[in-house]
Amino acid sequence: MNISDILILRQEFFLFGILILLLLYKLVASNSSINRGIIFGINILMAINIIMGFLNTSYGNLFGGMFQSNATIVLEKNLLAIGTLIICMQASDWTNTFKNNVEYYFILIATLLGMDIMISSGHFTIFYIGFELASLPLAALVSFNKAEKSSAEAGIKMILMSGFSSCILLFGISLLYGLSGTLLFDKMVAIHFDGSLSVLAFLFIFAGFGFKLSIVPFHLWTADVYEGAPINVTSFLSVISKSATVFIFLTILYKVFGSFNTTWIYALSLTTVFSITIGNLFALRQTNLKRFLAFSSIAQAGFILLGMISGSNLAMGSVLYFIFIYIFSNLAAFGVLGILHHQNGKDSILDLSGLYKRNPFLGIVMVLAMLSLAGVPPTAGFFGKFFLLNSAMSKGYYLITAIAVLNMIISLYYYLRIVRIIFTDATEEQSLITAGSWLGKLSLVFCIIGIIAIGFIGDLFEYFNYLSFGI
């Protein structure tokens, strides 16, 4: 392994380095007091990780094509790194309240490492290793709040569900191996899948991904786990974990199953329609903010699938662009929610009432996040949704686009309800809310900049589109 190979693996090595550092720190640090300095250090290291990801441009394949790296993959890793950095910044207030705060970051970064490996994989074995590394620690994160019963319950649900989904995925992969005789993505591109066994293989793999993406009908765990998990874990689940799964799913869908697209279109169309509709209809009735965001994220996942259907270069560009925006909008919402929860311990929708009066900054951030999730201009969410619809229309999927657009109107109802509640002053006297530490505030400022600016920088979309590929 020479220096250029290490440069290809630089993000993985760096994350691994952070993990070792944290382990060593745990050895030497005293167990009696809470150390805040190390949290700051972790944030700095994560920021360096992003900068490094953007600076160096050495690409290539390692281990006989089992590990791949190119501009697209590095971009995807950078998106995940940006999201993780924002989550780390938002989590600092919360983690500083207990002694094992370093463990949160350790597990978080381990998961990110797993995702990086998963995205870079060019072979189903490496993919599976990454997939597991990105799934198992999440269950530990979900049950991180050991004192709370709901958190432990969510952890159990999570581990059972991810175990099931891994099994199903693995079975699909084994069927695929039986069909093609290879597990390398690049060799599978040439194979033309046909027949019922291929359908079965695809469905198993799709179901495995479906659990991670929390699309209907594989969504039943989502609301419970999101509600039980600590907020800074929920945000990681709903944004980073989902985005990473979308990235590798896109690769597998377009590369491995590229020739199979006439068949998988049906599966994707159906799940798109059901995810968007059911996610929306359930979100209408929620009173708990975390459950609400869970169902809204199911609907958003449906929109991501809608963008994928057409299978063109434009489709992948739109999906990447949407995810970039989704990271900022959803993390802004979760960031505000985290601050509220940290101060009041409440997370029902009505607790947002008068938020604008109690803390204008948080109110504005939440309003922008909701508008962006709903897809209302001038926020970036509008552009994201527009390009997803555009990519579906480009291949003439009128009916699905029409259903999605109708659902956008439904979703507007519940997003705007929250906007209204934020501006309506509550009748009873409510306490002021402080905006939390400067790290948390800075992360929200990043999110605001992202939400407002992305849509107006047309070249960003060009860049994403340039790095995309179609079937």
Partner: protein, 502 residues
């Protein structure tokens, strides 16, 4: 140069972020809207000079910036006579809207912020020459309406705000889908002039025209989709009502004309009879409904539906005179209805009631407001010398001059609405303004300075357009010629095919 139109609204929005006290923010808003009005007036004079130099009716001050290059999306702006008339309307209403909400005490900064955001959306919409730009600004103008009604509204404002935003969003969803349909079945671009030049296949037009026209029709309160208007207006604060019926409904009509009609003339000819029928039902039904209303705001809301449906008839007649009249009616009705809502707001602020039967003889204590009320009413029923007369007359003349008996029948029936308008206007003003004055209203005070300014500006515009309609109809004619060229390229005569072709 045209993009400078965002300078003063943008600066005002920025300044509003830093100040909170009512005394400060209202002066900032007033200054911003005055400067914007002056800017629009100078733009108007520049346009009138330049258009005479060029001596052609084209879009002026065009500028195009690439936005998303791979998709050929541009930020393309430009203005012609119709757009300029609408921009002037927006500027006048924004200015008077600030005056009308001078005493707002609940969250004044946020109130003015929403007003300016709404007018910024309207400016962008009226200068857009690219469908994507147009849609972007159309949507920007929706959310402020929701906030204005749901936060500052009264009565069942939350339900009304939801109804309004969901219906308008449904409209914009239709526009979005048909926009993408135009993109992929046409020349793969959103540029309005390019699409109009290349034309669309007739089959595509037949499907997309009703979708697009209905989409914009919801904004215009076209008959079966008008239900957001009465509720929205009655719950909205005064300035929001002025914006809603003065600007927002006109955005819909402008879209019907500029996008639906001009881009798909073939389908417009074939399907005009459907929408003409709906518009006629709107004109008559809303006029009859107005007669039965007891609440001043409901009266004006229903009469707005009736008057804007006349605009749709003028547009669908596809005749230069009628088109000119339709745009003039958009302008004149915008000013008139804004005046009405402002006056209703002033009266309500004093009497704390909007029910007609509970008021009488206000002329004795409120001579200034009462007189303006009468003028607005007379303008609404089309008295010569006020702006309503030339515009409605042009619509009727123009659409009767169009070919085909169906449109003649439509015209004849729609003229009936004038009579009904006279019924409700005269009854309303008779009972509210004249008659004996009850004791509880005797201590009321007439308009304060900002109310008088507002009234003088709006009444002045009404009278000016009424006695000298040529200047605005000339201005509009530059835009109408432009659109008639696009339509004439594709059409021979306006005959409703297959129905009532007597």
């Amino acid at each position: 140069m045209l993009n400078l139109i965002f300078l003063f609204p943008g600066l005002t929005l920025l300044l509003l972020c830093f100040f909170k006290r009512q005394e400060v923010v209202r002066w900032i808003s007033l200054l911003g809207s005055i400067l914007q009005l002056l800017f629009v007036l100078s733009l108007l004079s520049f346009y009138l000079q330049d258009v005479k130099l060029i001596n052609a009716s084209t879009t002026l001050y065009e500028s195009s910036l690439p936005w998303f290059k791979t998709l050929n999306l541009n930020y393309h702006t430009g203005v012609d006579g119709i757009g300029l008339a609408m921009i002037l309307l927006t500027a006048i209403i924004s200015f008077t809207g600030v005056l009308a909400s001078w005493n707002i005490s609940l969250k004044p900064r946020e109130f003015y912020f929403n007003l300016f955001l709404l007018s910024t959306g309207a400016y962008g919409f009226f200068i857009a020459q690219d469908l994507f730009t147009l849609f972007f600004f159309l949507e920007i103008a929706i959310i402020p309406k929701f906030l204005l009604i749901s936060i500052w509204g009264s009565g069942k404002h939350i339900a009304s705000a939801n109804k309004l935003v969901l219906m308008l969003m449904a409209g914009s969803a239709m526009i979005l889908v048909s926009m993408l349909g135009i993109y992929y079945n046409g020349s793969h671009c959103f540029d309005i002039s390019v699409i109009a030049k290349n034309g669309l296949p007739v089959k595509v037009q037949q499907i997309l025209f009703p979708l697009l026209f209905t989409g914009f029709g919801i904004f215009t309160a076209m008959f079966p989709f008008h239900t957001w208007v009465p509720d929205g207006h009655s719950s909205a604060p005064t300035a929001a009502s002025m914006f809603l019926s003065g600007i927002s409904m006109k955005m819909g009509a402008y879209g019907c004309l500029r996008v639906a009609m001009a881009l798909m003339p073939q389908a417009a000819i074939n399907q005009a009879w459907i929408f003409l029928t709906l518009a006629l039902i709107g004109v008559l039904y809303a006029a009859f409904a107005t007669v039965r209303q007891t609440d001043l705001k409901y009266i004006n809301a229903y009469s707005s539906i009736s008057h804007t449906s006349l605009v749709l008839i003028g547009i669908l007649a596809m005749n230069a005179t009628a088109l000119n009249g339709a745009v003039m009616q958009m302008f004149s009705h915008g000013i008139m209805t804004a005046l009405f809502f402002a006056l209703i707001g002033m009266i309500y602020g004093r009497t704390h009631t909007r029910i007609v039967s509970e008021m009488s003889g206000l002329q004795k204590v409120l001579p200034f407001i009462g007189t303006a009320f009468i003028i607005a009413g007379l303008c609404s029923l089309g008295l010569p010398g006020l702006s309503g007369f030339p515009s409605e007359a042009k619509i009727f003349f123009g659409s009767y001059a169009a070919d085909g008996h169906f449109i003649h029948l439509i015209t004849i029936f729609s003229i009936l609405s004038i009579v009904i308008t006279a019924v409700y206007i005269l009854r309303m003003s008779g009972s509210v303004i004249f008659g004996p004055l009850s004791n509880e209203f005797s201590p009321l005070k007439d308009g304060s300075w900002y109310e008088k300014y507002l009234i003088v500006i709006l009444v002045g515009t009404i009278i000016f357009v009424g006695i000298y309609p040529t200047w605005i109809s000339d201005l509009i004619q530059y835009g109408v010629n432009n659109i008639m060229l696009q339509i004439k390229d594709h059409s021979v005569a306006v005959v409703p095919h297959g129905i009532l072709n007597i």
